[in-house]
Point group: D2
Chain length 136, copies 4
């Protein structure tokens, strides 16, 4: 996401102290959203689809929450601390729920779920870091 990185440096309201945490968080959110979207699709292509239904469900929730969270962080100008903090917590929770389920399937040898578990873990950590970088 090279244009995203460039544009955050050109933003006219750069006073926030959360710059590098914000960039890392937006990237993690959109990467996790796209990865969960692809994981749900890959699950639907598995031979035993029924065994993957719960994973698809969590993938879809996680993709939606990550995308909304990424958008909020991509608007650095005027942060509502309380609402943003709550959204970052919700995103970390969605990532952990999805990542736990994906990890189980990954341990059983389903490789796309193993990748998705990593994307979810990385995004949950980026949300935690961003929440810590927010100035109340």
């Amino acid at each position: 996401m090279k244009y995203l990185e460039e544009i955050l440096h050109k933003h006219p309201d750069p006073a926030h102290s959360d710059g590098s945490a914000a960039l890392a968080c937006i990237r993690a959110c959109f990467d996790c959203a796209a990865t969960c979207t692809a994981c749900a699709d890959a699950c639907l292509s598995e031979d035993d689809v029924a065994a993957m239904a719960h994973c698809v469900r969590l993938n879809l929730d996680c993709a939606d929450v990550c995308e909304a969270t990424g958008r909020l962080i991509a608007r650095p100008s005027e942060r509502d601390f309380k609402a943003l903090h709550a959204q970052l917590e919700a995103c970390a929770a969605a990532c952990r729920a999805c990542g736990d389920e994906c990890r189980k399937h990954g341990d059983e040898g389903i490789e796309h779920c193993a990748v998705c578990a990593e994307a979810c873990r990385a995004c949950a950590e980026a949300c935690d870091a961003m929440a810590g970088a927010l100035v109340a």
Copy 2:
């Protein structure tokens, strides 16, 4: 949203006790998302756009969060209690932040903001009710 109402009655996994709260919450989320989207656009059409910039910002955040929340509730089959509860709290917080700002402009005579403040208030209440209806 008549098809939404119909389809929730046809869902093969209707065991959840949150049926009517879920329908009300999905409706409130999508109505608030669309109303905030239109309010941001209306704000950008006001003569004094600069005075509305903060309202546009909160409208955009609120629309994104409401939409993600509405999608989660529209998937009744397997709820992750913790993640869903956190998202409902984040949505209520986004609605309150946006609603407070819209209310101010509404009190100054900007009618679209007065409508949007009501949509935000209704959505925050629906999220609170849905959070209460969730079975842990």
Copy 3:
């Protein structure tokens, strides 16, 4: 979506001739998006999930396209005719692809798919009507 209807009447830039078509189109788009989201979830709860995988895929695409289209139409102030027309065509195409698949399952007795087929048909028609109401 009563707040959406109210706010469109309060928009300061009401000069567009597409008012009633726009309201109907936004409503149809968000109803179809929510209905497709719920249909995908209901499909994942069916006994024979494998038979529903293609339907889930089309439901997810349709929900995403309808939501983006609904948001565009909910911003009436300055329409880019060419981009909006193309999006309305893409939305009608997504609705027809999903609606055709849902109709098949509906004819086989899966009731939520029958409802979703109707939501898709209604949304495709609303997009066609909106495309006709756009002033180039």
Copy 4:
């Protein structure tokens, strides 16, 4: 988006000939969506907000369309050729409309708009390439 790249290589249904075009297109769509989201926010932070209102409008439309398009391409398993082709055309049109407006502001010295114009140009080209790689 390293996890996205990894997961596309692990997808169980890799028969599509559009692999590298798909990865490039998803990346371009999400980068453009995030960049347009940040550009709208940066525009709202400019001293002369009124001069940027049209740009904000196009940024918001472009972000929504790019995000939906990126999601569709991130589901490689079963493509509906006609609907996907129409969505790629709509996305290229949204990117061109937004990119043209951003280019104007970029030429006037507003640096974030210059970056966004490049993101839009790159995304339009990626959508064109993806449309050409689709197998009817």
